[in-house]
């Protein structure tokens, strides 16, 4: 099939799902079937697109509309976007299966609205993945913020509204003030915002200003959660767990770090940055975030809050890897998008499973829960290993490459930071396992495992986490195309 057709399909398919979901609102079974069907079709489309694109020698661009001369909405399939598109659409299937168990298990209201905005958010994510220039990226980035707002405030309680305001406030403020400003700045220097291999800024602007521009993007892409603009992430924890999974593993945060990575590779250019060292400051900023967020995570008692800060820290790994700008670290950060997605979604699924089965939300309540929910807690272990970066999980591979990149560029402080943060993540994740398996409960546990749909989803995400370790070649193959 024609690539232009396929690429526009990736946005149209989830959009087309919306009216269908709305129409079937009276029959939950049909509605959820449609969601999963849409997700599966989308995944297949992405797969087809990947296969078709990688055989090509040059990238193809599909222009949707022209705003003004030179400014347009356009989609380009390139390796980085393809990986992100595959991950996001694949995990949409898993999250949908999980949502069925969770939303029904908790008897949530407004489930139709939930599935609709979920589909919209995925459509926006696809737009982010295949954006062909900065303007397109910005537009879909904003669309993603707006379409996830109703998901965050799903409960419509006062605390949900409060969280929603912080969420939207931080994301929109940073994107409008820094991100948009950076885009217009680049436009006024080069007259283009196109994503081109090797970047568009070489010899256009001196290293100091490049450094400032990078900061504009790092801060402007608030979804990447680099401190001090990480507040929205814990605030968004008021949302139902599938939303947290979407936010923290699939769409939102990944769209953030993906954008950072994409801009690093295709706007600034790896060669350009590594030769002038403009990304140094941003790199240290990410390093500080990694350590600081890990320490905060250590202090959390609420499981979802702890996972949120862990996410902040892990996201900065990807930013850090991008800012190290070596060929290995770019591959490492691409892989880390995938491995963190699989690992973190597993952990969130577990947190939700515990909540559905037992109503518990705090770490201290988990004593001895491993006996009642062995499968869930085993999955939690695998997820934790991946976040820490131990075999046999995908997290090991990605961290390995980031370390290689740091050594390649002789950034030994960064090496130290990576080691410290690994230890910290051991310190905040493994106590949960210890509590649940080796301590006796305070009161009698009278519940079993979570609903089957949740367990199926967990099973898939755990399998993916391990598969990424055993068989990383496909993603690795695609990642190698980046920047060529």
């Amino acid at each position: 099939m024609d690539i232009n057709f396929l690429i526009i399909l990736t946005i149209i398919i989830p959009l087309a799902g919306v009216p269908l979901i709305l129409l079937s609102r009276n029959s939950p079974n049909l509605r959820e079937f449609i969601t999963i069907l849409t997700a599966s079709i989308l995944f297949l489309t992405n797969l087809l697109l990947t296969i078709n694109t990688l055989g090509l020698s040059e990238s193809k661009t599909f222009v949707i509309v022209n705003f003004f001369p030179g400014g347009s909405i356009q989609l380009t399939p390139e390796p980085l976007g393809l990986i992100f598109g595959l991950i996001a659409s694949g995990l949409w299937i898993v999250t949908s299966i999980y949502s069925i168990g969770y939303m029904r298990g908790k008897n949530e209201k407004n489930q139709t609205r939930f599935y609709c905005f979920f589909a919209l958010a995925i459509a926006a994510t696809m737009g982010v993945a295949y954006a062909g220039n900065l303007i397109t990226l910005f537009i879909f980035y904003e669309a993603l913020s707006l379409s996830t707002y109703p998901l965050v405030t799903h409960h419509q309680s006062e605390s949900a509204k409060q969280g929603g305001r912080t969420y939207l406030g931080v994301l929109l403020t940073t994107s409008v003030v820094f991100f948009l400003f950076g885009i217009i700045w680049i436009w006024s220097i080069t007259g283009t915002t196109e994503f081109v291999s090797g970047g568009i800024l070489e010899n256009e602007i001196n290293p100091y200003l490049t450094g400032i521009l990078i900061l504009l993007f790092i801060f402007g892409i608030g979804k990447a959660g680099v401190m001090p603009f990480h507040r929205w992430l814990p605030a968004a924890m008021v949302a139902p767990t599938p939303v947290s999974a979407l936010l923290h593993a699939v769409a939102v945060v990944k769209a953030g770090v993906f954008s950072v990575l994409k801009i690093t590779v295709y706007t600034f250019g790896v060669e350009n940055l590594s030769s002038n060292g403009a990304s140094e400051f941003a790199m240290y900023l990410a390093a500080i975030t990694i350590v600081a967020a890990s320490i905060i995570a250590l202090k959390q008692n609420n499981i979802k809050k702890m996972l949120a800060y862990s996410t902040v820290s892990q996201l900065s790994y990807i930013v850090l890897a991008a800012m190290i700008v070596s060929s290995n670290s770019i591959i490492g950060s691409t892989l880390h998008i995938a491995s963190h997605a699989f690992g973190k979604i597993t952990l969130f699924f577990c947190a939700g499973a515990i909540y559905v089965a037992s109503g518990k939300t705090e770490i201290s309540q988990l004593k001895g829960i491993g006996k009642a929910m062995p499968l869930t807690m085993a999955a939690f272990l695998i997820g934790s290993l991946s976040i820490i970066g131990l075999p046999p999980t995908g997290g090991f591979i990605s961290k390995w490459y980031i370390l290689l990149g740091a050594i390649q560029q002789e950034e030994f402080i960064i090496l130290l930071v990576l080691i410290i943060s690994t230890l910290l993540s051991v310190a905040y994740l493994l106590p949960v396992i210890y509590l649940s398996f080796f301590l006796t409960p305070d009161s009698k546990i009278d519940h079993g495992e979570a609903p089957t749909a949740i367990l199926i989803a967990l099973g898939i995400s755990v399998t993916l986490t391990i598969l990424l370790f055993l068989y990383p070649t496909p993603i690795f193959q695609i990642a190698k195309f980046i920047g060529n």
Binding site: N66, F67, I139, L172, V177, F181, I184, S188
Partner: protein, 489 residues
């Protein structure tokens, strides 16, 4: 016939006005206004076509050639303004019937349309004429009729608002008159093109500086730049909805056109921006206007008042664009005249629908409106997004150009400040959206959506707000042509 179009543009509404008085029938006068607006719109489109072909059309009124006679002179800029004014008027008059019947006593409706047509022809005349004194006459025609129309509002505060406007408006117009007089005394001509030629010889004199000061203050009063804006909020708040929509979309815009015309064509940018620090003065006033008026807007409880303050802030953006004195800045100003006219027009028309259905435009009465009046509420969302400057709405295009303009000029801080201020717009728009969608109303009585005859014209503007956020070859294309023409590159 075709060669007489510039005159017809102004004369048709001018003749139709007394016709309404003679007929004394509300239905017919409404129809007449609609027909006249649409004909004017078509004429302006033909004129636009002609201007695009031959750059400048000069029309000697009554056959008396310039500079003795009055010249109507059309270039891309003012033809674009004509299209905006008459286009908005077509939409507003089609919309007006139900809203006016609701808000104005039935025996006064024909007088309303008389006043409306006079104001319409005044605005068209201000845009089209090439004679400085003639501008004054048309300013007064449009102003006098707008005072009368504002006073037709239901609330008694409409009358006092109208009186304040009358006093300040007359002072503004008289200032303008003094300035024109001084120019005439120094050059012996009133024709703008002639003035532009002769003024450089007397640039050094104090009289010309004084004349420029009087003219610009007079115009700034009319376009309500902070701190000369005091008349506007009450006038927009208490005027009939149709009048608020039309005034906000066109009246201040035509005044802005005059500022561009006198700044760039008559006095010339060398005099205005290089010889004197006009740019700095205008820009600082504009920034203060944007920040102060946006902040004030955030705390309003009456939405029409909120929109009035938002208009003042948006005027600030346009003035800022003008003061940048470069291609992107001027393009931003001109395209924002258009973009703001359509989005603010849509918002005020939506307010008219709400006033018609629930009889109030207070924010607390609009709670839960998202479910009860879904179409009107959605129109407000789109209009609001455009005010913020969200991508894919018309407002984004303006924002894009103005920031480019600021960067071209090297005003970095300003560019960042502009982006920050758009967040203020986010706050006041979000207040409305939150009230409509995230709060449920305590009132249980059932209300219906506004009548379809009002929804359709409103949605024309809403669709335009989106369309011109995506396809900008008409709006931004013409604006940049006009800017190129003015800057002379």
């Amino acid at each position: 016939m075709l060669s007489q179009l510039p005159a017809l543009q102004v004369v048709i509404p001018l003749i139709a006005a007394p016709l309404c008085v003679i007929l004394r029938n509300k239905e017919i006068s409404c129809l007449v206004s609609q027909a006249v607006s649409i004909v004017s719109f078509l004429i302006s489109l033909i004129l636009l076509q002609q201007v695009l072909n031959q750059n400048v059309i000069s029309y000697a009124l009554g056959g008396w050639l310039a500079p003795i006679g009055i010249e109507y002179r059309l270039d891309i800029l003012n033809t674009f303004i004509l299209v905006i004014v008459s286009g908005i008027s077509s939409i507003v008059t089609i919309y007006s019937k139900k809203s006016i019947e609701h808000e104005i006593d039935s025996e006064k409706i024909y007088l309303f349309y008389t006043g409306y047509l006079l104001m319409f022809s005044g605005l068209l005349g201000m845009s089209i004429t090439g004679d400085a004194f003639n501008v004054f006459v048309f300013i007064e025609i449009s102003s006098l009729s707008s005072y009368a129309m504002i006073a037709m509002g239901k609330d008694r505060r409409a009358v006092s608002a109208s009186f304040t406007y009358l006093v300040m408006g007359t002072v503004g117009a008289t200032f303008f008159l003094i300035g024109v007089g001084l120019m005439y005394a120094m050059t012996g001509t009133l024709n703008m093109a002639d003035l532009a030629e002769r003024l450089p010889k007397v640039y050094e004199t104090k009289a010309i500086l004084v004349s420029f000061a009087f003219i610009s203050i007079g115009i700034l009063l009319k376009l309500a730049l902070f701190p000369l804006h005091l008349w506007l909020p009450n006038a927009y708040t208490y005027a009939p909805s149709v009048v608020s929509a039309f005034l906000s979309a066109t009246a201040t815009k035509v005044a802005i056109y005059l500022l561009i015309r006198f700044g760039y064509t008559v006095f010339g940018s060398d005099f205005v921006f290089i010889k004197y620090p006009t740019a700095e003065i205008l820009a600082s006033l504009a920034i203060v206007a944007i920040i102060v008026c946006s902040l004030v807007a955030i705390f309003q409880t009456n939405i029409k008042r909120l929109l009035a303050f938002s208009s003042l802030a948006q005027v600030g953006y346009i003035i800022l664009g003008i003061s940048l004195n470069n291609l992107n800045g001027l393009t931003a100003a001109i395209v924002h005249i258009f973009n703001h006219a359509i989005s603010k027009g849509a918002l005020f028309l939506a307010m008219g629908c709400i006033a018609l259905v629930i009889g109030s435009v207070k924010i607390k009465d609009m709670e839960g409106l998202g479910k009860k009046m879904p179409f009107t509420a959605f129109a407000i969302v789109i209009g609001g997004l455009s005010l913020i400057g969200v991508p894919l709405t018309a407002g984004f295009i303006s924002k894009w150009y103005i920031i480019l303009g600021a960067l071209d000029k090297g005003w970095w801080v300003l560019a960042i400040l502009l982006l920050l201020t758009s967040l203020l717009a986010l706050v006041y728009v979000w207040r409305i959206i939150e009230a409509m969608y995230f709060r449920s109303s305590e009132n249980v009585y059932k209300i219906n959506e506004a009548p379809i005859s009002m929804l359709i014209p409103m949605y024309v503007l809403v669709i335009m707000t989106i369309y011109f956020g995506i396809e900008t070859s008409f709006s931004a294309g013409l604006a940049s042509e006009a800017a190129k023409f003015l800057i002379g590159t």
